[in-house]
């Protein structure tokens, strides 16, 4: 009995962090798939989202859903500006683009320290209490994260499949030149795709604000995990990022429950290295020509 409760708890925790990893990794893989940019600043946009969520929720006392929207909007627009001015010049050069995102990350993180100080701030829960099903009890605050992440992802999926812009993004990801020939304005698609990508990171940050705390340094871990997830799922593959995120969240939660969190980290990485060696393009990725 005790074991089953422990495992159920581990599964729930796995889903929560898996949902967060998925949101991070989907955005990360989107920028790579479309723009061939490895965005090392992705975690900083997560952090900005967490801060925006924190300030709007605590200071203005407005519904959390509105806070999420504001965070996505502000960070998304910022991302578009950053892409247009600082990342587009490096389109021909993946390595310089990578270093440029690194520089952007340094600037944003230290800007946040300068503005808001280095100390972590606890964020109040959005909802309290817990859901009891038989002997199991799940806290609402975690269930809300899972539900919200699922909803955000469904909206994102609809956007990518049904709207003109989403289709244009997929076309550019598949083949930039052919997309150009079809009359897609690639120069407009890039900033928009980057904006959507970092808006997803911001949503993840705002959602996780109440679960962890908010500080200028919260972006580092999700960033590393997104990196791992994207390798696991396949660079540039959105379904791969979803599957990879949930798988990694589950593995992390269960191995941490059984072996402790440090061993869990090593096991995760070894597993991913193994997968990468057997299938270099990841679980669901496509082989590059």
């Amino acid at each position: 009995m005790g074991y089953s409760i422990l495992l159920a708890q581990a599964a729930l925790n796995g889903l929560v962090i898996g949902a967060m990893y998925t949101l991070m990794a989907v955005g990360f893989t989107l920028t790579f798939g479309i723009m061939r940019v490895v965005n090392f600043a992705h975690g900083e946009f997560y952090m900005l989202g967490a801060f925006t969520g924190f300030f709007t929720y605590v200071c203005w006392d407005i519904p959390f859903v509105v806070c999420l929207l504001i965070a996505a909007l502000i960070v998304g627009i910022l991302g578009m500006l950053v892409e247009r001015t600082l990342i587009q010049p490096f389109r021909a050069d993946e390595m310089s683009g990578m270093i440029a995102t690194l520089a952007i990350s340094v600037i944003i993180q230290n800007g946040a320290v300068l503005l808001w100080g280095p100390q972590p701030r606890p964020m109040p829960d959005i909802v309290t209490g817990s859901l009891a099903i038989g002997p199991f009890s799940f806290s609402w605050s975690r269930l809300v994260v899972i539900a919200a992440a699922a909803l955000i992802f469904a909206l994102f999926w609809l956007f990518m499949q049904r709207t003109r812009l989403g289709r244009a993004m997929r076309a550019v990801a598949q083949d930039t030149e052919t997309a150009l020939i079809q009359g897609i304005r690639v120069n407009h698609v890039y900033p928009l795709a980057f904006g959507v990508s970092v808006a997803l990171a911001a949503l993840a940050g705002a959602l996780m604000g109440p679960v962890f705390s908010v500080s200028p340094f919260v972006g580092a871990t999700p960033m590393l995990k997104a990196f791992v997830v994207v390798i696991l799922g396949g660079l540039g593959s959105v379904p791969g990022a979803v599957v990879g995120g949930l798988v990694l969240g589950m593995i992390e939660s269960f191995t941490a429950t059984i072996f402790g969190s440090l061993v869990s980290d090593i096991l995760q990485l070894l597993l991913v290295i193994l997968i990468l060696l057997v299938r270099p393009s990841g679980l669901l990725g496509q082989r590059e020509a």
């Binding site: 520089a103 600037i107 230290n110 990468l276 270099p280």
Partner: protein
């Protein structure tokens, strides 16, 4: 721009010996300046910075060696850390003199890189970058967890300094000359290597891997050689550094350091030997120059990094070429 390029090419064709001679003179002048430099300052912190610049320059050059076969390693710091741990533990537990520890560290990390390289180098491009990133992370975590050997997060304290013939290099000034010797040694070795048959093979692989393969060049052999040499140099230099800093923890060399080495290489200039050196000489002391801007120094560092990338796409080396070209054009015009 094009015209000056033509002129430079012209000069190069007409007088290759004169150009080589000029390089040799410049090298000797720089070496003499480097030898005299520590006599000009008594500031210990400046000496410390100079030491770090030399060691970082070796790290960047060794990474550049791996990059010269078209592979970028995001786990370079793991080899640095491995070398540091090997030599530090050998000195502390087995009482092996650091100078031998450094050699052992270089050999072991180089050999480990051969074994790892045979497996990992099957991956190319971005996938190699990613797998080296993961391998580096695994190393940091293992160092953190293997407490009986590495003392975990507490780190190793009281690592002995290098001692040459009973003469300990415990001061910053003495260590400076040792680091300078190591730097010149590595630079000469890589320079000679790049001029040999190996260097030509490396360049052809970096330029077009498939063409090199179909021309009968054993690509995986040369890539493993470059990876092993680059990693071995990094391991030995990590060992040198740990006998200077004399403290080592899993946080001493992490992913951030791997990224720092790549940054030095890209900012300095990826092609050629000098790029990594310039990058290290520019970026290592940069945060210190910005110390006056309390709180904003890292932001300014990021801005400078962006500016270099935006305005000097081929790195700081292109700045040097620009001046060389101008002086070349002047001598052309003056007679």
């Amino acid at each position: 721009m094009d015209a000056s390029g033509v002129i430079a090419g012209h000069v190069e064709q007409r007088a290759p010996s004169r150009r080589r001679w000029r390089f040799a003179v410049a090298g000797f002048v720089l070496l003499a300046a480097a030898l005299a430099l520590p006599q000009l300052t008594t500031n210990q912190f400046h000496l410390h910075l100079a030491n770090l610049m030399l060691l970082n320059a070796i790290f960047a050059v060794s990474l550049g060696l791996i990059a010269s076969v078209g592979q970028i390693s995001l786990g370079h710091a793991a080899f640095v850390a491995a070398g540091a741990y090997i030599s530090a533990l050998a000195a502390m537990n087995l009482k092996i003199p650091p100078i031998f520890g450094i050699l052992i560290a270089g050999l072991v990390t180089g050999f480990a890189a051969v074994l790892l390289g045979k497996v990992l180098l099957r991956l190319r491009g971005v996938y190699f970058v990613l797998v080296t990133f993961l391998a580096g992370q695994v190393f940091t975590l293992v160092a953190l967890n293997w407490e009986s050997v590495t003392h975990g997060a507490n780190g190793l304290v009281g690592i002995p300094a290098i001692s040459l013939f009973g003469f300990p290099l415990a001061t910053r000034l003495r260590f400076y000359y040792f680091a300078l010797a190591a730097f010149v040694l590595v630079l000469t070795f890589v320079w000679a290597l790049m001029r040999s048959q190996y260097g030509r093979a490396f360049r052809s692989i970096a330029e077009n891997i498939r063409l090199a393969e179909s021309s009968g060049i054993d690509v995986s052999h040369y890539q493993v050689v470059a990876f092993a040499l680059g990693s071995g140099i990094a391991g030995a230099t990590g060992a040198i550094m740990v006998h200077y800093i004399r403290f080592l923890s899993p946080d001493s060399f992490t992913f951030n350091d791997s990224v720092a080495y790549i940054t030095m290489l890209v900012v300095g200039g990826r092609t050629g030997l000098i790029g990594g050196v310039l990058g290290a000489l520019f970026l290592t002391p940069l945060p210190e120059f910005l110390r006056g801007f309390v709180g904003a120094q890292h932001i300014i560092y990021g801005v400078i990094l962006l500016a270099v990338l935006l305005f000097l796409p081929n790195g700081l080396v292109s700045l040097g070429r620009f001046f060389v070209r101008r002086s070349g054009a002047e001598t052309e015009a003056s007679p």
